[in-house]
Symmetry: C2
């Protein structure tokens, strides 16, 4: 691990720079697959599944009976754990529900705001080395709570053409009926245009590799929304000398095992802490099954020594980490003043893993510095706000002249007329 002592703030941008994403390069591939899925639909999906996943699919949709019987394929203790996690995620997202907001801005001028579900949403669950059933929970629970009418889940088939039973069990537990064994760029294209089998949606959620990420960004050109731009996962820990190096090391490694491009940063006011954590990382890493991946990520990780909590905070806000663990006597200072972070874990017994799986918070979070301007996935990600107004005759008598003057000043006479014609009628009625 590379140790940097007291870096000057002018050097932070370089120090904190993330690896750039080669999105542009693969845009051509994305364009081609989108174009083919748009015209050839299911046929194109099967072709690309054969090409990329090495699987000949007969049907794209997972049947109801396969969904319902998934439970038999998983350990009862896992089923119980998923159930507990789901309950916690429900609780945290349910508390985010806001009722109608209403205000009478002037007597007789009633304005209100109501949130309505996005009717059709697509959830993408990556395949790869691990069956990410936790991501099913993180996306399906708020989608169901929001009341989205049509929830479509796409996930790539395993080598035998099947989907991991834990993913199917979780989808079924969350009430999702439309599950398709399609992954990669072709899945995002299917959700964008719709095919004979897969319905088009209005917004696509979920993580993925660089191909899926590029495909999601391309989908926005066709009028779709996406949850957020994605990049490699990140963890920044602030630890003063009150922290436990073994806990911190375990947290850094839990991030490092995600992938060789995972971003891992430890900031401390104590050089001893940095050194002890580095030693602990080496010890713990030696016995990890995903040691090779973790080693690569740890090689690129940084130990940063800073003068005090204020400077640490500034640096952390500049970086905008996806995950931020704070183990410090000053934890209140960081809670009160953190501006840019996806999710914050406070105190020695709040590991990132808790939020990754089961505490209730969402693990779909802004990476790559996007915490500066994006929230992670919340209940609101599946809703949109509509504003309403209803104005009485008396209300328009007060408000109307204001609108007339402003419309006139902007040179929009017809805007003014829409008020004037009503004010004239009100005067006539009186």
């Amino acid at each position: 691990m590379k140790k940097i002592k007291y870096p000057a703030s002018k050097d932070w941008p370089k120090l904190l720079r993330r690896p750039s994403q080669p999105v542009e390069e693969i845009e051509q591939t994305v364009k081609e697959i989108f174009s083919e899925v748009r015209t050839k639909k299911d046929v194109a999906l099967k072709k690309y599944t054969n090409l990329f996943d090495g699987v000949e699919l007969e049907t794209l949709q997972v049947s109801k009976s396969v969904l319902k019987s998934a439970k038999t394929g998983i350990d009862p203790s896992l089923a119980a754990a998923i159930h507990t996690a789901k309950e916690n995620i429900i609780k945290f997202h349910e508390v985010q529900r806001s009722g109608a907001l209403s205000v009478e801005t002037m007597p007789g001028v009633n304005c209100w705001q109501i949130k309505r579900p996005i009717q059709k949403v697509g959830l993408y669950i990556p395949g790869g080395s691990a069956p990410l059933f936790s991501t099913v929970l993180m996306l399906a629970v708020p989608a169901m709570l929001a009341g989205c009418e049509e929830i479509v889940l796409c996930t790539p088939p395993g080598s035998g053409g099947q989907v991991d039973p834990a993913i199917l069990y979780t989808a079924d537990l969350c009430g999702i009926e439309k599950v398709y064994t399609i992954g990669g760029i072709q899945a995002i294209a299917a959700l964008t245009f719709g095919t004979e089998t897969i319905p088009a949606v209005y917004k696509i959620f979920g993580p993925g590799n660089q191909f899926v990420t590029a495909a999601k960004q391309y989908a926005t050109k066709f009028g779709l929304a996406i949850d957020m731009p994605a990049g490699p996962s990140e963890l920044l820990v602030f630890a003063d000398d009150s922290a436990r190096p073994d806990f911190i090391a375990a947290d850094l490694l839990s991030q490092a095992e995600h992938g060789p491009d995972s971003q891992v940063i430890l900031v401390s006011t104590s050089e001893e802490m940095l050194d002890e954590v580095a030693r602990e990382v080496d010890l713990q890493m030696a016995v990890l099954p995903r040691k090779e991946i973790a080693t690569k990520a740890i090689e690129n990780s940084k130990l940063i020594l800073v003068e005090n909590s204020e400077i640490a905070l500034q640096l952390i806000n500049d970086y905008g980490p996806e995950h931020f663990i704070v183990n410090s006597r000053d934890e209140g200072f960081f809670i009160d003043n953190i501006q840019n972070a996806g999710s914050v874990f406070v105190g020695p017994y709040s590991p990132e893993s808790a939020g990754d799986y089961a505490s209730g918070t969402n693990h779909t979070l802004p990476t790559n510095g996007y915490a500066r301007q994006y929230s992670g996935v919340t209940l609101d990600s599946f809703l949109k706000s509509i504003s309403f107004q209803q104005i009485s005759c008396d209300g328009l008598k007060s408000l109307g002249p204001v609108v007339e003057i402003m419309a006139e000043a902007e040179g929009l006479q017809a805007h003014r007329n829409a008020v004037s014609i009503r004010l004239k009628q009100i005067a006539k009625n009186e």
Copy 2:
């Protein structure tokens, strides 16, 4: 106006299709200007301002004294109107403020969510035929309420190099100190990369022509967020036979005068109403100063006759209008069931102009069908949510085993370890 009677729902997509936006075509221009502004900064801004606006700028920033003295350049009645509008906009956006949300998902597992302002935001105010000081209000008021630290306003210079005093007055009234006389693609590039004079921001808000729209979309490739994709303004009115044709006609024309590409649709269960509105439109249009523009928009507008309110609702939800006026005995049915609309105006005395200027609701709204998945600008547009968690030893004793099982099942042993190492320590302490 084209009248369509009882269209079959299979024909709605074609009937309701918006004109496509030629964004791709101008991407090359956008790329070039971005590249030049990125490297040559202020020099490039001045060059393009000369080229596109025909103005030689000495300084890019509007001085404090010019900002402060803008009030003398506008009519006191306009200043008073802007002040009233601002108060109403404050009231409607202030009610959107949500405090910290907190829940103990399991005993000892405390999760909460706090919203924090986006620190740096850019507001783009278009130039063109009308000084859109109303848009300054709609963007600056929620930005100030949210607590954004750095608010940067860009607007193109008029032919004399000046900015309209109403825009400057409104900016000053809202407490904005950083106002720059730069417009078009070069302004968006400046907000993206920063120059010697103009600070880079994290999110860009505001309407604009197709060049500005394409530039905003391009800015997202450099890590910026934007308020929403933009298209020509739209109004859909539903009127049953209880509506007043003269009021409706005035509303349709207020939309039509925005531009020849404005979208204007009237849906009714009464053919008589459609015909009467068409007659009224002709009468009222004849005397409008922006008659030429309105005539073109009205030529493309549609009068759609439908069987009943249920079918009307379906069609409206399929279209997802930016503005939706409902003048009907059934207004409650539409309020309760509208799914996709930016802003809804209920009853005969709630013209769209009220919301465009002064009732309090925001006029920055999703066009082009984006109401299906995007909200208009709200207080939340200037905030992002951060989730927090703090877990006690007892909390981790309940939650930890759940996380261990799930992490193990996803093959992420280091995630499991981060919990196990803590549970062991807790056991040791007991």
